[in-house]
Structure formats: C-alpha cells, structure tokens
Symmetry: C2
Subunit: 324 residues, 2 copies
C-alpha cells in the first residue's frame, strides 16, 4: 500500500538529507564569509502584497482564503518577499544590504513534466549596489559557493533582460504582440517565432535582428561581436567580467555570455543569470538585476540576486562524482 504524494513533491530519506545538510552548510559558510546575513519570511503571504512586486506574484499557484476572506498564496520565489521585508524592516539600514535565505518555494507544474512543485532555494540578494559592481559580486559569491560545495564543472550564463524588449520596440512589433514573441524568445522556440513573424508580416531583416542575440553565446569574445542597440548591455557585461576576473580569475573562466538569455520573472531590469553544470541537463538556479522591485514596496534600491535550487545542485554534485 503506497500512499500517493502530490505530483512534484517528494520524501527525502536520511542518506540524502545528510548530504543536503552538508551542501547547505557549505553554501551558507561562503555566504556568511562574504557578509551575507540570513533572513526568513513566511511561506504564506497575502497575494495582494506579493503582487505589488509582480503581476503574477512571481507565478504563485497555490491560493487559499483566510478566515477574513483575504487571499493567501504560498511564496513562488524568494526575491519579492525579500524586497517586502527590506521595505518593512530595513528602512534606515546602511547600504548595501547583503541577505540570504534557505526557503522552499512553490510553483505549479505541468502535468507529466518532471518538475518540482516544492523546491528548496538557497538565495542571495544584494540591495543598494549598482551594476556592474553588484552583479559581479553576486556572480563571484555564487561561483565560489558552488566550488566550495565541491562542484568542478559549473558555469554561469549572463545575459541582459533589457535586450529583447528593446529589440521588439525597435522592430515595429505591435505592443500587444510583444509578450507573445518574448515568450517564444525566452523558450528559444525559433519555429514559433518564425510563424509569428510571418503572421505579423514582419521583414526577414526584423526576424534576423530578433534572432541575432540568440546566436551570441560563449566566452567574453562574443561581447566583441555585439553592436548597435545591444551596446549598453554589452558594456555592462564586459565590466562584470573584468570585475570578477580581478577578484578571482579561476572563477571568471566559468562565465558564459549569452545575449539570448531571458528569464521568466518580469521584475528583471538588467543583467540576468543562469547557473549550469554540464553533468546535468537543467539549470541549477538563476537570477538577475531588479532595480525597480524594491521601490514598488516603498524602498527604492538598485538590487540584484540569484537563487540556487539546492536539490538540483546536489544532483549535479552526484553526477559529477559519477562521471569522475
């Protein structure tokens, strides 16, 4: 008699739990060494409060009613609650604020997809620090934390969330259609993009302009090939590479520039990050710069952050060990 669990949730048994504790402890030690302080926020928050940060409350999918009829949601990310906490509790604190959390987040899963509905995030948020310095610090701390946890093949991809909105605006795509095309670009679904380009009667030159960033992926040399409307974003990425190289040359080699990278969250305004390990076929985490988010809660601050999926990092560890 096996009692079912909701799809996308799981039990963890002692051997794995011990390894996850060790992994968490190593990540936390690097975060604390670099001056980050841990915060905790409730798993349940008012939906209307989280929606101040993002229309979809970061994709919160689990809703329930309070005894007073207010809608509660299970948090779907750690960044919006952190911005809310900083507005409530750190109104006068000296800047920058360096915060981290280990917290479960909850999202809907597509039926049949092997996705997690509940997943443990190890997240860093650096608030009150501008690009490119803040971006470089987040990149360096995350790479060092993963190295300290024993990963050897991890990489971080860097793009810029401003690239596609800018190109779509310049390419004459009607505003009402931009979200659809952006979604294709985020999934790198080129056939769907091509179909919409045809449907909208856009030119081949426009299509090529939209696809160009997706072909620019690699070491810092790809930044030499990006021009025109991408210049500001590219200059920022180049500076991030310089700053990380000055701090830790070995870790800087893990940076992959990827101008086609787009992240799902609407609150990213600049650099976006995605963490990979070639030993596994999925991202280990992601993040980016969100300069407008804290202001929506009443405390305007340039900020950026990144969250790792602890279970996926653990899977990458195991897979690296297996591959030797």
């Amino acid at each position: 008699m096996i009692h079912p669990l909701p799809p996308g949730t799981r039990d963890v048994l002692p051997d794995e739990a011990r390894e996850l504790r060790q992994l968490g402890g190593r990540l936390r030690a690097v975060f604390e060494r670099d001056g980050y302080g841990e915060i905790q926020t409730p798993a349940l928050e008012y939906e209307d409060v989280l929606r101040l940060g993002d229309d979809r409350a970061a994709g919160a999918a689990f809703r329930l009613f309070d005894d007073q009829g207010r809608v509660l949601v299970l948090r779907a990310d750690g960044t919006i609650p952190a911005a809310r906490l900083v507005a409530n509790r750190f109104a006068d604190a000296p800047l920058p604020l360096r915060l981290f959390y280990f917290a479960h987040a909850y999202r809907a899963v597509e039926r049949g997809a092997a996705q997690s509905r509940e997943f443990l995030q190890a997240g860093l948020e650096l608030m009150g620090s501008d690009a490119p310095e803040g971006d470089a610090e987040i990149v360096a701390v995350v790479l060092e934390a993963l190295s300290s946890a024993g990963l050897r093949r991890h990489r971080i991809g860097l793009g810029d969330a401003s690239i596609y909105p800018l190109l779509l605006a310049q390419s004459g795509v009607p505003e009402a259609e931009r979200a659809t095309l952006l979604a294709h670009l985020q999934r790198r679904d080129l056939p769907a993009l091509q179909a919409d380009v045809d449907r909208l009667g856009l030119s081949a030159a426009t299509r090529d302009m939209l696809l160009a960033p997706a072909t620019l992926r690699g070491g810092p040399e790809v930044l030499e090939r990006a021009t025109g409307p991408l210049a500001v974003a590219v200059e920022n990425l180049r500076r991030i590479h310089e700053l990380v190289s000055e701090r830790n040359g070995a870790e800087a080699d893990r940076m992959i520039f990827d101008l086609g990278l787009a992240r799902e969250m609407s609150y990213y305004t600049g650099t976006v990050f995605e963490v990979y390990d070639p030993a596994v076929g999925y991202a280990l985490g992601g993040g980016g710069r969100y300069d407008d988010l804290c202001g929506k809660f009443g405390r305007p601050l340039p900020a950026c952050g990144l969250a790792l999926d602890v279970q996926r990092v653990h899977m990458a560890q195991l897979e690296e060990e297996r591959l030797g």
Copy 2:
C-alpha cells in the same frame, strides 16, 4: 509604508536567524549522536491521505485544490507524515526506526491570540519500540538535546492519554458526551466540567473521580498516590522514570508526572509528553506514544515521538539568559 503579514506569521532578521541556526545545529547534533536520521516530507499533502492518520489531519487548516480537483493541505504536524513515509519507504527496514525532522507546520490561529500559524518543529519519531523503553529513550534524548542547546531549567511533563477515556467510560458518561468533557479536561477548565457534570446529572463522586488525576502532579512520589483504574498507566510512568534515571540521573530530575496531562492529537494511545521551561509561560513542545497510527498506513508499529517548537525553545534560551 508597512506591508502586512498574515496573523501568526513573521519575518526573521539575521541576528535571530543566526541564533536559530545555532540552536537547530545543537539539537540536531544530539539527535544524530543518538542514531536518529533526518527525513523531509512535503509541506503539501493530499488531505485524504493525512486523514488516514487522524480525522482532522492533525488539525490541518489550510486547504487548497489541486488542478485535478483533489484537496491538498499544508501539514499541521510531523508525526502523521512520518508514519505515512515509513509505510511508503521503510516497509522492510530493520527496527526500531529512529527519525527526526526540522519542518514548518501550519495551523489555524484564533483571532487576537498570539499564536503562530507557521512554526518550525524539531521532531523525533521512534518507531518499532514499545513502552516503556521507547518512551524513556525519547524523554532522555529530548532532555539531553535541550541541555546541549544551553537550557538549564527545562522540564518534561508526563501523563497518559489512556487515563481520561478510561475514567469517562467507567463513570457512566454517555459516549456522545465524552468528547466534550475530554476537551474541558484537556484545557483543565474545571468550571465547564462542573457545569456539564450538573447538566448530565452525574454524581459528586463521579466528578471527583474525573478531577482526581488533575491533582496528581509532581515528582515520582505522586505515582505512589495513584491507584485503581490508573494502575497500568502509573506503572508505565514509573518504569520510564527508572529507565531515564539509569541512563542519566541528572536529566531524570527534570521529569514531572502529571496524570491530568492530555494532548490535543487524537492519535496518542499511551504516555504523553509536554516540555516546559519556567522562564516562559507556554509549552516548548509535546508528543506521546501512538501505537495505532502507523498501522493506519499499513505498517503496524508501536511508536512514540516528540516535537519541539524551535522558536519557543529559543525564546526560553533568551529568557533564561536574561534571568541569569
């Protein structure tokens, strides 16, 4: 601009988070030293699965619908999910099973009451070990863990969940009325009990028999004064005291026998525990023996456990330090 949080939930800032981490680490070190292995279960489970363990799914108050129309709840305790996990995943494991968890549980709060809706439990479950040996082990490990965390004044109250149901059955209270009287007894609400005794036309002798256990509270000497229908429960408590004394005499002095102690959960079948510290006015945790619970999930095992409220233990630590 302060953004409200749901009543009974809170943010934790870095200084407190660091202390909570240290406290958790010390408790965990003792649990692991004594052979307990950590488990994790999902925060969201199917209500009909958890209700196998207890009619009210341990009081789960937060319900939501799956995309397939099934009812999910946020866990309200750690014991029912642990029993479910053991049936699913440890069908053939050697006994006893020693498990622990650090997990948030979620319960409804009364409006205006300063209760937590979300609280972190540090729980121990010992499955496959009979009374009194299993009960004594749980008592000893919990007392040692709290001492290791730096508490100096903590106490554990021990009662027996079988006492009141037995007395109610022997006193001629109609079965339909027993739950009401039991609830009064659990809250030690003697005026309400007196009113119901009058309403039901019970004798003064019956009332006195029901109230007698509530007056038996103190060191092992109170066990000498309990007789009649309480004899089996009292003999078990006496043996627990002996076993804990043999293992650790200093910790045994922290035991308070309290035959009026009753716990809310319906699944307790024998000894029940409640942890106190005179520095604060609320229980730091509780638990008991639940010999019928695992069988409801298909794996009959005698078992007992105890969960500490980590935040309350931390408050007791701070208050002990303040009092010096």
